[in-house]
């Protein structure tokens, strides 16, 4: 979600793009093309580059990261906090586990994982070949050090969460009552054992509970934990076990990566990677002019400007994010730390919520506003989690007639004949809508949505009378501002789609403040140990999704795509999900001395 919020400033530069006449023109043409796009079109993107040319020896890859702002450059998985740094780290730091396309851990990476469900213990074994970029072998103490740093009272990052406290002895360590974490044991130099309070299927998913990275203890142990984040050992000369090593950094501007000669999967094929940053419009020009080979985190808002370049292949894949309409149905009880649903809330009637969902043509929004790089979402599980998708769940397909019928049934009738429905008691009904001012389309989009609601007879007005910026938006929904009934939010879920943290009764991020006994049970089923059985798990997810749709707790709006423009001289690049979920940088080759123009 953070990533989505940061895109706001793209608006300014996209406007300038049109002013200077650099490709703003074909935008309208694009919209026409997309009229007849059906479901089959969703997978129009490839995730692998095809290049049959003979590769040259080595070569320098010119990468660029598309951002308005200087990157922070926190080269540590334990400390980094944003999408940009996470991309930079991906090239150098390395991940412990490889996964299949559904993010289930497969045991062929830098380490393997074995879970003993009965004993509630996990054993992690390090692959013997894995070495840090300074030549030292990856050891058990390095794995443990990650936990010790994250759990430490002086730790300055944000990774200390429920996954960490699920480890036995973590809280005692965190509170300073113990010097070590009692639940983590060294079995040998290459093996550790972790004991958990509770085991859930999440533990077997990358990013789902077992830390997927390690810290070079031999290198970092002399730095006090409170100083780690700003230390040169992390900000300038990080040591990792990924395919490349960060050898030079100009803070906020550019990074030089050289091959990690100790990389456990063999020495990478490139001689060097130079990564610069540039504003998105400039990146488009650079792609055109053959200045860049790979453009990371390219905003999809300006997709039409780089969709059809002759020297560039645009790869694409489904993103982890979805946007949704949230209906405020209660308050947060900060004493008890749980949601209190108010049956008398303005949005308490399920039919009203459903009607608002059916009234919006999500497919059209994706086509008209986002060049089809956002598509109608039918559930609260992003489409890339194929296992949990279910064709029976249709979400809220555009059906204004059904919406009107639902409102009629629920008793929202137009009593005074002004075309606007009154509430069940015949009193005026005004629904307050909160929306963010992110991206150039935000204004038009919220106007469009309010018109659609008006068409079914609902008076919806903007809360605070205008779109609000990111911080105010979350301040308002977090504080359960009475001036907000409906809001247009988005979540980026990460590789573990378990929804408890977003919709559970004791989840602070449950911003709709809806909770019910049924929902509690359904969420518990997903996380229960029975869910180790895949069929049970899929079914639990399905039941939960059905419930969420029936109750219209939130209305899923759009799923996101992410794209990666790649110059046609690049060979061997694989952006598919699975593996280490990175770009497989070590396999990349080039087939020409300079990027093609």
């Amino acid at each position: 979600m953070k990533k989505i919020g940061k895109k706001a400033i793209v608006a300014l530069l996209s406007t300038t793009l049109i002013l200077t006449g650099c490709g703003g023109g074909n935008k309208d043409g694009k919209k026409e093309d997309t009229k007849n796009v059906d479901e089959a079109e969703k997978n129009k993107f490839s995730t692998i580059v095809e290049n049959d040319e003979k590769a040259i020896e080595g070569g320098t890859l010119q990468a660029v990261i598309a951002t308005e702002s200087a990157f922070k450059g926190v080269f540590s998985n334990e400390f980094q906090e944003d999408a940009f740094d996470s991309q930079l780290n991906d090239i150098a730091l390395g991940a412990l586990f490889t996964t299949d396309a559904d993010f289930n851990i497969t045991n062929d990476g830098a380490a393997s994982l074995e879970l003993d469900k009965e004993a509630k213990k996990a054993t992690i074994k390090i692959n013997d070949n894995v070495k840090w970029s300074d030549g030292e072998p990856l050891k058990a103490e390095d794995l443990i050090y990650s936990y010790e740093v994250i759990g430490h009272k002086d730790y300055t990052g944000v990774r200390y969460n429920a996954d960490m406290t699920n480890i036995i002895g973590m809280e005692e360590y965190h509170n300073g009552k113990a010097d070590t974490i009692s639940g983590i044991k060294t079995i040998s130099d290459k093996e550790i054992e972790i004991s958990f309070e509770e085991v859930s299927p999440s533990l077997l998913v990358a990013g789902g509970g077992i830390w997927n990275s390690a810290m070079p203890k031999h290198y970092l142990k002399d730095v006090a934990i409170k100083d780690l984040q700003s230390s040169d050992k992390i900000r300038k000369n990080p040591v990792g076990f990924g395919p490349f090593v960060i050898t030079n950094v100009v803070p906020g501007e550019s990074i030089e990566y050289l091959p990690n000669e100790y990389y456990y999967k063999g020495k990478p094929k490139l001689d060097k990677i130079i990564l610069n940053r540039a504003i998105p419009t400039a990146v488009v020009e650079g792609l055109k002019g053959g200045k860049y080979d790979v453009a990371i985190l390219m905003p999809t808002e300006i997709y039409p400007t780089y969709a059809d370049l002759e020297n560039v292949t645009v790869l694409g894949r489904e993103d982890f994010a979805y946007s949704y309409l949230g209906f405020k149905q209660g308050k947060w009880d900060s004493e008890k730390d749980e949601v209190v649903t108010d049956p008398k809330a303005k949005m308490a009637d399920v039919k009203l919520r459903q009607a608002m969902g059916y009234a919006i043509d999500k497919k059209a929004i994706g086509q008209e506003y986002y060049s089809n790089l956002r598509v109608e979402a039918t559930s609260l599980i992003p489409q890339l989690f194929k296992d949990f998708q279910n064709d029976d769940i249709k979400g809220f397909p555009y059906d204004p007639e059904k919406a009107e019928k639902l409102l009629d049934e629920a008793g929202y009738k137009d009593v005074d004949g002004d075309g606007i429905r009154e509430d069940k008691d015949g009193k005026p009904l005004e629904i307050k809508f909160l929306s963010r001012s992110n991206g150039e389309e935000a204004e038009a989009l919220s106007e469009y949505m309010m018109q659609e609601w008006e068409a079914i007879g609902l008076k919806v007005t903007l809360s605070s009378g205008r779109l609000v910026e990111f911080n105010s938006f979350y301040d308002k929904i977090k504080a359960d501002d009475p001036d907000v009934d409906v809001y247009f939010g988005a979540w980026s879920v990460g590789s573990d789609p378990t929804p408890t943290g977003l919709y559970g009764r004791d989840a602070a991020f449950n911003y709709t403040r809806f909770a019910s006994k049924e929902l509690d049970t359904l969420l518990k089923n997903i996380a229960s140990s029975k869910s180790f059985d895949l069929e049970y798990k899929n079914n639990a997810f399905k039941e939960w999704q059905e419930y969420m749709m029936d109750e219209a707790v939130v209305v899923p709006m759009l799923n996101y795509y992410e794209v990666l423009p790649v110059n046609k001289r690049v060979k061997g690049l694989d952006w598919s999900r699975g593996g280490t979920n990175s770009l497989s940088w070590e396999k990349i080759e080039l087939t020409a001395e300079e990027p093609l123009k």
Partner: protein, 320 residues
């Protein structure tokens, strides 16, 4: 004069004190805080709350202000919430770039504007003058970001003569001559953009002053005494015409050191202006407050320098 300077410097203390209260209060009044942007389903709200508590953001605003101002007096502006390094070092990194860019821009501006403005004034209504006037109107009217993008696309991406982003290439050893030249190379496009925009005002001022001065009695006197025309221009008119420029130079420096958000953004040049805007966006209080204080100090010093320069250039103006 020194007495006045000292008085002015002493008077800066209460001014800065009031500024510090204002900026601190305004920064805290903004919705959200540095941790609002960190919410993802994987972060624990309790962790964020703990970080907030540890950062002292839950204390009353008076306590927070007291803590901040005491530390600021000791020269400690804290740690940036977003960049996670000391505020002084993040500002240091960026300020170097900005000062370098500003100096380059100012030098370029005057190298272009002084001769052009003087000649245009001297040969008023000539073809040269008309071209200059047209140039002035255009460069005055074109917004920074349009000019910046045009220059970037033309010289950076089409002709590929100059680098398109950053302040220096990665891998050049800091401190060497090659490093300096590389930095200079990166400066040319953003510097040129700033200079083209800066010349408009300067040329206009100078041209008008020269035209005015030509009608002045002292010029007529000099001419009637038989002083050669070129000497009249270089001695009498030039010095007088420089007055408004001089009074402006202090403030121009201030504006440049505060950075140019547009130029820095377009050329992905990490300077102060961009840092300021980003810090506001991410509610990086420690950087925002430190930067505003810095701008405050520079502005006060800038006006003082302007006044001193004025008294040097124009003997009629005395500081006391």
């Amino acid at each position: 004069m020194w007495k006045t300077v000292l008085r002015r410097v002493l008077f800066m203390i209460p001014q800065l004190f009031i500024l510090s209260i204002l900026i601190f209060a305004l920064a805290k009044l903004m919705p959200g805080d540095p941790f609002t942007g960190l919410i993802t389903p994987d972060t624990d709200p309790k962790t964020i709350e703990a970080l907030r508590e540890a950062a002292g953001l839950n204390d009353s605003i008076l306590v927070q202000y007291g803590r901040w101002i005491t530390n600021a007096f000791k020269g400690d502006f804290g740690v940036s919430y977003t960049h996670k390094i000391a505020v002084s070092s993040i500002i240091g990194q960026r300020a170097g770039n900005t000062v370098f860019l500003s100096l380059f821009t100012i030098i370029m501006t005057y190298v272009i504007a002084l001769p052009v403005g003087l000649l245009a004034g001297r040969y008023q209504n000539s073809i040269f003058d008309k071209i200059v006037v047209i140039y002035n109107y255009i460069s005055y009217a074109v917004p920074t970001f349009v000019l910046g993008l045009v220059i970037l696309f033309l010289f950076g991406y089409q002709l590929q003569w100059f680098p398109t982003s950053g302040s220096v290439d990665v891998g050049v050893t800091s401190g060497t001559f090659a490093y300096f030249m590389n930095k200079l190379y990166h400066l040319i496009l953003p510097g040129l953009t700033g200079a083209i925009l800066g010349t408009a005002t300067t040329i206009q001022y100078l041209r008008n002053e020269v035209i005015d001065a030509k009608q002045q009695d002292f010029v007529k006197t000099a001419r009637s005494k038989g002083v050669p025309v070129s000497k009249v221009y270089s001695r009498h008119i030039f010095r007088n015409s420089m007055l408004p420029i001089t009074s402006n130079i202090g403030m121009e420096l201030v504006a440049l050191i505060s950075g140019s958000i547009f130029i820095e953004t377009i050329f992905a040049y990490p300077g102060i202006g961009q840092l300021f805007i980003q810090s506001i966006g991410s509610r990086d209080y420690s950087v925002i407050t430190a930067l505003v204080m810095l701008f405050g100090v520079i502005t006060l010093i800038g006006t003082l320098v302007s006044d001193i320069l004025m008294s040097v250039v124009d003997p009629r103006i005395r500081l006391d």
